[in-house]
Symmetry: C2
Subunit: 293 residues, 2 copies
Amino acid sequence: MSAPDFFQQDHAAIEAGLEKLLPADSTPPASIHTAMRYSVFAGGKRIRPILCYESAKLFGADPAGAIPVGCALEFIHTYSLIHDDLPALDNDDLRRGKPTNHKVFGEAVAILAGDALLTLAFQTLANAAIEPARRVRVISEIASAAGTVNGMVGGQVADIEAEKKAADAAMLEYIHRSKTAALICGSIVAGAIAGGAGDEDVERLRRFGGQIGWAFQVVDDILDVSESSASLGKTAGKDQAQQKATYPALYGLEKSRAIAAELETKALRELDFYGERGTRLRQVAQFLVARRN
Amino acid sequence: MSAPDFFQQDHAAIEAGLEKLLPADSTPPASIHTAMRYSVFAGGKRIRPILCYESAKLFGADPAGAIPVGCALEFIHTYSLIHDDLPALDNDDLRRGKPTNHKVFGEAVAILAGDALLTLAFQTLANAAIEPARRVRVISEIASAAGTVNGMVGGQVADIEAEKKAADAAMLEYIHRSKTAALICGSIVAGAIAGGAGDEDVERLRRFGGQIGWAFQVVDDILDVSESSASLGKTAGKDQAQQKATYPALYGLEKSRAIAAELETKALRELDFYGERGTRLRQVAQFLVARRN
């Protein structure tokens, strides 16, 4: 399945935002800005910014305020990949078909580039053109989604702790919902808040986001088993080699596909409320589950 | 010189804030929260939170909103120490007289604990009881002070790049103002904004903070040469061993002391405007320059 047509348009708006927000390569100290840009512009699909932007457009007449929010989400996603790839963590040499950050710039700069992207994310959010009371809610939602309590860092820690142990269904769900679904859900919720959504809409999109984010990681597990490194742009079969807790490992491929499909169905049901207006978010969600890399 | 009497009272308010804001050791995943608490409660002097709190009190009838801001600053300071001590960076085994975070919890958890503290800092700021338009200004100031362009991470990168090179006066000033003074200045400015200061007061305190923060790092350089590891609670003489760019290395001890004293004088002059009200901030500043560890 190829990406919906509007992806390209959204993608261009986000690339322009990222370009504007990142200090130039030449800004001193040059090495850190070069390293930050290397990973941000390594060819990401910009899924989180697109979800954020399309979520904002459900509510906002002018969704421009959601572009910096989306860029901040991409900075956070990128920092997490840089740190995750470090020798002390997943020790990966390849990401999006290119050498990982520490392979190019060394470990010290890679650690600091991750720190810097996380910091820049919050600076970007603090300066976004969104009414201040909404802006602080957006920051709180995203920080929580990236944090330790049911958030991304918590999921990464649980993921490491679960290696080489037999994770049960509850632990597997916790890991996937925290390490991946939380930030995807946070992207959708932050977009809705930035776009001016009321509380009921925010909670409806939180349910949508939680389920589609969870499905996204189940699909990621499946692709690690079923696709090649060339197709993925990262080392395939790595989960099994590292004895990671995954859906295929616990349930097998067929059952894992059924779980992803069920989560997708539940997620899409939440969008029924919006009828035609929900078409784009629906298409993004369908793409996330049907993607091959 | 011992700390002013009110330090103990401020310190208690900050410790209570840190205790409340950090997830309990037992909150899953337990290992990350244990690691975060280990470094936050390793005996820091809480200089940044105290500066923030006392700065807010210059302006605010109720400075309670500045306590979480101070705690966020301490989280950021602590994350920077954890990452700085890593083998890929300064490779230090001892901090505040205790084994460094990665020595106790391993490198993977130490990297993630740093990431988590930085994230928690912004979550804390986003939820602080400060009027939203001021809250986003506080977040922007602190993120900028912790970032790459004239901020903390930028200073750390420049510091690494300057090792084993002969840094000139301009580079040395850039490193010290970025890696240390920026966050100290940011603490003072953020406190002022949280306390309700007007723009002229914010800029006056920015000048005060920039100079006292710079003096602080010059003193740090001097103590690394003149004090023992036991007195410092970290490895003494490390700057020279690592061929770091320092004031004593470039100017000698006597001239370095004169530079620190001159910066202190300039800083204190900014507080004259506040007369008696500025006494506490003046005492903190004097303590920072006269301290022995």
